[in-house]
Amino acid sequence: MTLFRGRRILAGAMTLVAAAALAACGSKTTDQNTSAGVTADVSGDTVKVGLLNSLSGTMAISEVTVRDSIMLAIEEINAAGGVLGKKIQPVGEDGASDWPTFAEKAEKLIREDRVAAVFGCWTSASRKAVKPVFEKNKALLFYPVQYEGLEQSPYIFYTGATTNQQIVPGLDYLKAQGAKSLYLVGSDYVFPRTANKIIKAYAEANGMKVLGEDYAPLGSTEFGTITNKVKSSGADAVFNTLNGDSNVAFFKEYKSAGLTATSMPVVSVSIAEEEVKSIGTQYLEGQLTAWNYYQTTPGAANEKFVAAYKAKYGADKPTSDPMEAAYVSVYLWKAMVEKAGAFDVEKVRQASDGITFEAPEGLVTVDGATQHIAKTARVGKVGADGLITEVWNSGAPITPDPYLKSYPWAGGLS
């Protein structure tokens, strides 16, 4: 009994079509001229820039505020006459918390809209997804979030902190406070895992003990067991690299277990004013954070930024480090373009070295070699009013060192 009746002619024909397609075209010659990149369209009296953030999905909780502060910077620059006499025209796209979507939208912004630069991305995964797109098309991305380092793309400017501007100073602070042992808690993705590798190397070189290391899947809200483990470890401090939602569950559990900022302080590197607002000072008061900027950072530039942000988005909206870094990134791009006298990507990159800007966080300087920013590191304490006040700072901007080359203990990391 034949189970399949014949339609062999058809199947054969289709296979032929497929085979023909395979051989049809494709050039093995690596003629590099074909991928010369796309030049931005600056022919009119406006210049387009792309904004690429997640407006939907799990990451929208963080990325929407970054979009808001980029828009604020663009409006301010336009009100002051634009860049090289052209008004900035923002083109917004939704990355939808999905990495391939980020890549698709980046390509669309570069090739269809022909933007002069793109501002955005939050997670390392989204940055890794778009990196080849920007390199292939020779277009510029300004990435505004602190990250795990170990990267240096010629087409990305990193305006958030790299590890030696946030994590290492945070550890220095803990060491100075006399912490001898740490427990590491993080979300299960690239930043925490890499950060914890660095922390372990640091701890080994500085006589600190790492008593445990636990990861929760992104978005996980079940921290009963991890808190039990942390508590029974008796560590001097917890280093927390949890992301987003998980922090809320972790700190609620932490307090329920009877742990406090005095009995076992937590240093967090992903909790800014916005997160404090969503977790609640009830759970966070007295806990530590490591960043480069707080809403309370003194200075005229910050007063102006905070006032402008609140005027535009509401008095109850706090400002935070990634928002500030995103805001600064637009101004840095403007300064680079003006120094270069053109929107041309290569010229902008060449002009970038040594650009300074009086940012809300203080003076920042672009390091042309790494395309990172020299920033001042700060450790802050969460207050009862939901704001974070500085308890320590590095005194001067720290030169970015994404591969930690100047730290002997980090030799085996990269």
Partner: protein, 295 residues
């Protein structure tokens, strides 16, 4: 030993959360066959109800207590609306309810984002529920977990009594056991369906209030919980509550002990493997309603 007991309690409390979420599903999915992916968004509605009430009633304890019935009604009403507008048309196509309610859940998430903003919102827990009780031997038991355990227990008892004793409960059971016979006996099955959906969705609202004590309150808070809850109902067996109760606690303890011995990721995978293995043994779940159908 201390750690062991502490972990056992953690497991039980994970189970209580699962139970609270799964209880509503046990009704809508277990009794009616509707796969409601928007159940997670009803949980979210319950949590946001707590948030809104707290803007009005600042005393955290009172607002939490008042939120329980209010969230039940809010989420229940959303459920009824969903039932009337969409699910009513889909009883003949249970698998399609999954896809339709998935679309609904996308819409509800975006709605929450537009109403309350993308960032998570904050509720204050009453001070009493942020502490813990120290037992002899260094064991601490978190008060919020105890509260949720009590809430889950209360919900199970209330639901059981309601199904056993009240006329509505009798009708619900009759419809589940034999819809056609119930209909010819004069039961308005459509109305019973609606009430079942109201109660099931309302339970999600209560779960949402409880979750404000544990986790974040944001637009996507429901999505992470829904699959685990469905698994509880599937493994527990359809048409009965006791399976759901037992399986919720069993999975909670399994996950907590797995997580303690390895990592949370491995524990989650372990739970899944255990479920597939269990369904090999009892494909209809732990307990199942005996019917005369061929299936």
């Amino acid at each position: 030993m201390t750690v062991l007991i502490g972990q056992l309690f953690t497991g039980v409390s994970i189970g209580a959360v699962l139970l609270l979420i799964a209880l509503g599903l046990a009704l809508t999915f277990g009794q009616m066959g509707v796969i409601n992916m928007a159940h997670g968004e009803f949980i979210m509605a319950g949590a946001y109800t707590t948030f809104v009430l707290q803007q009005v009633i600042t005393a955290a304890g009172w607002s939490l207590l008042i939120a329980l019935p209010v969230a039940f009604v809010v989420a229940g009403a959303m459920g009824v609306l969903l039932e009337i507008l969409l699910i009513r048309r889909l009883y003949a196509r249970p698998l399609d309810t999954l896809l339709v309610t998935w679309g609904v859940s996308l819409i509800l998430q975006q709605l929450a984002r537009d109403i309350f903003g993308s960032p998570n919102v904050q509720t204050r827990a009453p001070e009493l529920l942020t502490g813990n009780i120290a037992l002899p031997g260094g064991i601490t038991v978190a008060n919020n977990r105890l509260f949720i355990l009590a809430l889950a227990g209360g919900a199970v008892v209330a639901l059981t009594v309601a199904l056993r004793v009240t006329p509505l409960g009798r009708r619900i059971r009759a419809v589940v056991q034999n819809r056609d016979l119930a209909a010819v006996s004069g039961i308005a099955t459509a109305r019973v369906d609606r009430m079942t959906f109201f109660i099931g969705s309302g339970l999600a609202g209560i779960a949402g209030v409880a979750l404000t004590l544990l986790g974040p309150i944001g637009p996507t808070m429901g999505t992470n919980l829904i699959i685990d809850a469905f698994l509880v109902v599937v493994v527990g067996g359809i048409g009965q509550l006791k399976g759901t109760v037992i399986v919720a606690f069993a999975l909670g303890v399994l996950q907590a002990s797995g997580e303690y011995l390895t990592t949370l990721s491995v524990a989650k995978v372990m739970v899944f493997v255990a479920i597939v293995a269990f369904l090999q043994w009892r494909p209809q779940g732990m307990f199942t309603l005996r019917t005369r159908s061929l299936a």
